[in-house]
C-alpha cells in the first residue's frame, strides 16, 4: 500500500499561494544595495557574533527571506526566517512572515499575513499596519534615488556640516549622507515611523511630525531616557524660525529609538517624533554631529543632480551677494532694503534691530565682507524660503560671526526675515 501524503501535500499549494502574495519581493536587482550590506554583515558576523547592533541588518535579512519566497524557495526562506526571529524576536514584521512560512507548511497562504480569521478580527489594525510597514520598506528599497542625486532642498552644504539627514515621510525612510569635498554622498537609509496623525505639525499635541529644515540640537544621554525612547535621542530644532513665525506650537521633536518590546513601529505611530530601530539610531548617533547636521523632513523628497540646481539658485545667490556688497559698502539704507518689514530677530523688530546692524557696519568700516562656509537649504511650501548659514568675516579680521538667516521670496525678490548669530 502506498502512502498518499506526499502527493496530497498541502504545502505544494501553499508555496505557490505565498509566492503570489509576495511576488513583489522577488524581482530584479532592486535590492542590490541591501544585498551588499547583507553580504558585508555576513563577513562581520564571523568576527563578531552579535549582529543585533549593526544597522540595517534586520531589514536586509527580512528582504532576503522575501526574495527566497519570491524564488519559491520556501524551505530556505523558513530557515532564514527562523534565524531572523531568533535574533530579533521583537521584529513584528519578521514574526508575521515567519508565521506565514510556518502556516504554509500545513495550509495554503491566501494573503500576506494570513492570520486566522478570529485573530484578524481582534487585531485588524495591527495587521494593516504591519502590511503597510512591509509595503513601505519594500517600496523604499525598490525605488532608490539615482546615484549622485540629493534631495532638492540641499542647494549648498558647507564642509562644516559633515553629515546631513533627509526624511521622506511618504516612504517612511530616513536617508543619511556624508558631506565631503565631492559633495553629499548617501551612506545609509532606514525605515522610520512618523506621527500618528501624519506630518505637517502645527500645534502641540496634534500627533504630527513637522515638515521643514531643522538641525540636530543635542544628543540626549540614553541613561536619562525611559525605555520607550530606545537607545537614545537626538532632538531637532522644531519649531524653527519659520514655524514660530507661522505660530506653530509644540516642542520635543526627537529622532529616537524603539522600546525593547518593539523592534520597529508602524509607519504612523508616534506623537510627532521620527522613530528608528535602535541599531539604526545608534549608527546615526555615532555618526552625526550636534548643531551642524541638518535634518530635512518632507512628505516627498525630490532627488536632483546637484549641478542641475545652479541656474535655479542663481537669483538667490545674486540677492545674497547684493546684501554682502551692501554691507561692504557700509550704506545702512541700502542694507536695509534686503530686510522684510516684518523682520524679527529673537523678538526685535526691524526698527529695534537696526542699531545692531549699524554697530556691525561701524565695526567693518567698509572692509570687504566674506561669507565663509556658506550653506543654504531651500524650503518651499506655500512660501519659498531659504535657510542660510555662513561665517561672516571682514577682510583683515581674524574672527567673525557664524550667522543664520531666513530668506523669503516675495514678488521675485529674496528678502531676509530673520538674522541671528548662532
Amino acid at each position: 500500500m502506498k502512502f498518499g501524503w506526499w502527493t496530497a501535500d498541502p504545502r505544494r499549494a501553499a508555496v505557490s499561494a505565498l509566492l503570489l502574495v509576495l511576488a513583489w519581493g522577488s524581482n530584479s536587482n532592486a535590492f542590490s544595495a541591501t544585498n551588499k550590506r547583507a553580504a558585508k554583515d555576513k563577513t562581520q558576523r564571523q568576527v563578531a557574533p552579535v549582529v543585533n547592533d549593526t544597522d540595517g541588518v534586520a531589514e536586509a535579512r527580512l528582504i532576503e527571506v522575501y526574495k527566497l519566497i519570491g524564488q519559491a524557495n520556501n524551505r530556505e526562506a523558513l530557515k532564514k526566517a527562523d534565524l531572523l526571529v531568533a535574533d530579533f524576536p521583537s521584529f513584528q514584521l519578521a514574526q508575521l512572515v515567519h508565521g506565514d512560512l510556518l502556516a504554509a507548511q500545513i495550509r495554503p497562504i491566501k494573503a500576506f499575513g494570513d492570520v486566522p480569521d478570529d485573530v484578524a478580527r481582534t487585531a485588524s489594525g495591527a495587521l494593516a499596519e504591519l502590511r503597510e510597514e512591509s509595503h513601505r520598506r519594500v517600496r523604499a528599497l525598490r525605488e532608490r534615488p539615482l546615484k549622485g542625486t540629493v534631495p532638492s532642498q540641499f542647494l549648498a552644504l558647507s564642509q562644516k556640516s559633515k553629515h546631513a539627514i533627509a526624511v521622506d515621510a511618504s516612504r517612511s525612510r530616513l536617508y543619511l549622507f556624508e558631506n565631503g569635498a565631492s559633495g553629499m554622498n548617501l551612506v545609509a537609509d532606514y525605515y522610520i515611523s512618523v506621527g500618528k496623525a501624519g506630518t505637517a505639525k502645527t500645534a502641540e499635541g496634534d500627533q504630527r511630525t513637522p515638515l521643514g529644515v531643522y538641525y540636530i540640537t543635542s544628543n540626549l544621554d540614553p541613561k536619562s531616557l525611559k525605555d520607550f525612547y530606545g537607545s537614545g535621542a537626538l532632538p531637532i530644532s522644531y519649531p524653527n524660525i519659520l514655524d514660530s513665525k507661522r505660530g506653530k506650537t509644540g516642542s520635543g521633536i526627537w529622532l529616537h529609538g524603539t522600546p525593547p518590546a518593539q523592534f520597529s513601529r508602524p509607519p504612523q505611530a508616534t506623537d510627532g517624533c521620527v522613530v528608528l530601530a535602535n541599531p539604526d539610531l545608534q549608527r546615526i548617533i555615532r555618526t552625526v554631529e550636534v548643531k551642524t547636521t541638518p535634518v530635512v523632513i518632507a512628505t516627498h523628497l525630490n532627488w536632483v543632480a546637484p549641478q542641475s540646481t545652479r541656474a535655479e539658485s542663481k537669483p538667490f545667490e545674486d540677492a545674497l551677494n547684493g546684501w554682502r556688497n551692501a554691507k561692504t559698502s557700509g550704506n545702512l539704507q541700502q542694507v536695509l532694503t534686503y530686510y522684510t518689514p516684518d523682520f524679527n530677530s529673537n523678538g526685535k523688530n526691524l526698527a529695534q534691530w537696526t542699531p545692531n546692524l549699524k554697530t556691525e557696519l561701524d565695526q567693518t568700516q567698509g572692509r570687504t565682507i566674506q561669507l565663509k562656509d556658506l550653506s543654504y537649504l531651500r524650503w518651499t511650501d506655500a512660501t519659498d524660503t531659504m535657510v542660510v548659514t555662513f561665517g561672516e568675516v571682514a577682510d583683515g579680521t581674524r574672527v567673525g560671526w557664524t550667522k543664520r538667516q531666513y530668506w523669503i521670496r516675495q514678488e521675485n525678490q529674496w528678502k531676509i526675515f530673520f538674522e541671528g548669530v548662532i
Binding site: Q92, P116, D118, R121
Partner: protein
Amino acid sequence: MSQIRLPLLASLRMLCIAASLLVSAAHADEYADVSQLVRSGKLQEALTKVDQYLGAKPRDPQMRFLKGVIQRDSGKTTDAIATFTRLTEDFPELPEPYNNLAVLYAGQSQFDKARTALEMAIRTNPSYATAHENLGDVYAKLASQAYNKALQLDAGNSGVPPKLALIRELFSPTGAKAQRPATLPAAPPPAAAPVAAKPVPSLPGPVVSKGPAPVSATATASSIPASAPAAPASATTPTKAPVTASVPSAVTNSAKDAEAAVHAWAQAWSAKDVKSYLASYGKDFNPPGSQSRSSWEEERRQRISSKSKISVKLENLKVTVSGNTATAKFRQDYKANGLAVSSRKTLDLVKHGDRWQIVKESTGT
C-alpha cells in the same frame, strides 16, 4: 503500511542495531509483560522489570523506549526527555524516539525543539505518518505564536499546547507474537507499526479562541425568547450586527448602557476625575505602544491633572452592540490649555457584569 525500515546498509551501526533487534525479538515475552503492566497502570512494577532487563542489556532500544514511555506516564518528563534523547543519539535512524521527544517538548510548550525533533523523525523516515501529523500541529502552533508576536496579542490566553501522539511502543511485540509463527524468530523484526498506539492528535484550534469573538450574536439570541430564531443567520453575520429597530429590546438597552458608559468616560475626563476616568478602562485594556498598564495610567494621570481645564465633547456617537462587546465610534472634540483637537475615535467595550468597560481605544476611523 508505515514500516520502520531497516535497509540493508552495510554500516556497522546498522548491523549493530539489527543485532540488538534480533535479540529483542527473542525477548518478546519480556516486552509484552512490561507493556501489559504499563497498560494496567502498574508503572512502578513495570519500571522495576525494565531496569532489571536493562541491567543485563543496557543498550536494548525497545526496553529503553518503554522506559521512556513509563517515565513520561509517571510524570517524570525530564527523565523521559533524557531517555529519548539518548535513544536518538544511539539510534539516530529510528524516528520514534524523535517523535516522543517532540511530544514531550510540545507538552512543555517548547515548540521550536518539538519542531526540530519531528523534522529529524521525518528525515529519518519520510513516510512516518505520526510525525507528519504531529509536525503539522506543531507548525500550526508555531505559526499562531508567530502571528501573536507579530500582532502583539497576549500569548497568555493561547497556552493550550497541542495534544500530540506519543508512540507507546517501539515495536508491537504482542501483535507480532500473535501473528508470527514461533519458528521464525530469526526473521527481520516485524512491522513495528506505530499505528496501534496512535491516538488521533487533536488540533490545537485557533489561538485566540478565548477572545470575545463573534459568539455574541448567538449568545444574545439564545437568551432572548422565541422571537429571534435567526440562529443560522447569526453564523454568517459578521461581528457587528447593527442595532436596528427589529433587534430585541435587551440589545437596545445594552446599547444604551454602553453609550452611557462612553459618556461617563468623557465626563470623567472633562472633570479631570482621574480615578473614574481610569476606572472606565477594563482590566484587559491594552495600553497603546508597549506601555505597561501602570506606566500608561501614570502618564494619563499626569497628562490629565497637569491641565488647568479640559473639555471633551462627543459628536455623532454611534454604538454597535453585539452580546458582551460593543464598539463606539464618534468625533471627539478635545480642548485643554488652549489646544483644540478634533479627531475620530473608536472605543471597544466589553461588558463585565453590568459594567461596560473600555478594552481598546483607537483614533482614526
